[in-house]
Subunit: 138 residues, 4 copies
Amino acid sequence: MLTTSRLDIADARTIIAAATAKAQEIGVPMCIAIADDSGNLVAFERMDGGKVTSITIAIDKAYTAAAAKKATHEYGTASQPGAPAYGINSAIGGRLMVVGGGLPILVNGAVVGAIGISSGTPAQDLEVAQAGVDGFKG
Amino acid sequence: MLTTSRLDIADARTIIAAATAKAQEIGVPMCIAIADDSGNLVAFERMDGGKVTSITIAIDKAYTAAAAKKATHEYGTASQPGAPAYGINSAIGGRLMVVGGGLPILVNGAVVGAIGISSGTPAQDLEVAQAGVDGFKG
Amino acid sequence: MLTTSRLDIADARTIIAAATAKAQEIGVPMCIAIADDSGNLVAFERMDGGKVTSITIAIDKAYTAAAAKKATHEYGTASQPGAPAYGINSAIGGRLMVVGGGLPILVNGAVVGAIGISSGTPAQDLEVAQAGVDGFKG
Amino acid sequence: MLTTSRLDIADARTIIAAATAKAQEIGVPMCIAIADDSGNLVAFERMDGGKVTSITIAIDKAYTAAAAKKATHEYGTASQPGAPAYGINSAIGGRLMVVGGGLPILVNGAVVGAIGISSGTPAQDLEVAQAGVDGFKG
């Protein structure tokens, strides 16, 4: 058998709080999703003003970052026209997100979950996701 | 034009806290979803030990209760063999939930959102959903 | 964080071999799926003569038994007309299986994965699933 | 009427074993899927450490290579912006994979099945897929 560690609900709340603080700081209401190490949703919050489309996108960014063990913006680079993973954005019924804002969360080198952010620009989403990760590690 | 009222993220947290307290009291870790008046997710928490299948089911119970303005167990009655809504459980790709645990939340007679609970028996799910509603109104 | 145990690929092969032996004994070629504790597929085999429809059904029985921590035939009882979970069979896009043949696999009281069997009668599927579970524990 | 030849479960195990050996050699745990000539799954293994997203992607690469009788990386070339098959990656609900790692398996010029690999880079996936094909023919 394999033994793995994953985010619990208390961890998820800590990460969401840190992401929310950054989102407020930059003035962009966000959808914030936290997944466990298998990509399954642990917690989600849509800040007042967060976009309805971003509900699914944030959840799928967290899913992708956790289940593929990779930041979603790395897939963005790898899937450009002519690049090796071109076309992967429509995989898994479109759940495979290649837009920035999904970051895996690692402890001792192993992925224990992920955060997915959506409603701003991809750069803003990534900035808020990183703040969530930093809030967990801090 | 229409003007509507809907749950905000602070309301959602209040409702989740009340539902969580009841779930802890009865000893069943739950998935808890809060939707707005359009059925779109506002917040979600999977308590430690909540079921993976219940992530989608809780979200869909909240969606159904808000968007159909009806408790999901009422659909359970109405969709029995021979009853008028027989077969509606598979509508909307299976999102139309007819199992108890989804309750609309009303203010001044208007639906402003809903709560969806899953991981226990339908009776337990309903009890925890009601505690969430009561926590909001209290 | 939470620490969990899950079936690895060697465990999955052991379980599949035990299930296959039983399927050969009763003369029914089966589809055999093994999921981890989160419901995600670890291994799958379609015995020569196993049904094409059963590919998805076996995978979804394993998913349901692992992710809902319950034997699928228990859902069959609980979801009969008039019973509390009536209508749950169409949940999660129809992935929630209520037909016998899906069994969770527990170690020290915790679900570490599941087996899903399909191609025979539900009773045959359940018998083969149980043989798989027994092969793991033996 | 048509008479077709297709991989059986023993063939599938042989191919998986050859692919697994190569994956171990290059140090990348993979998801490995084998489809028959109709694109339907015959066998699947997720090596310990294989990605959760790659479960579906490996199965869909095998499906695409068998059912379309073409290596998935050939679709990658044909579906670039301006190329004739542009946009085909989202066909069939996103199951049509255009990323490398899916190879048809031919006997006497006829497709009898396919292998789909995912979890590494597309180049690594293709290398391991080829090792699986070679193991079958060897």
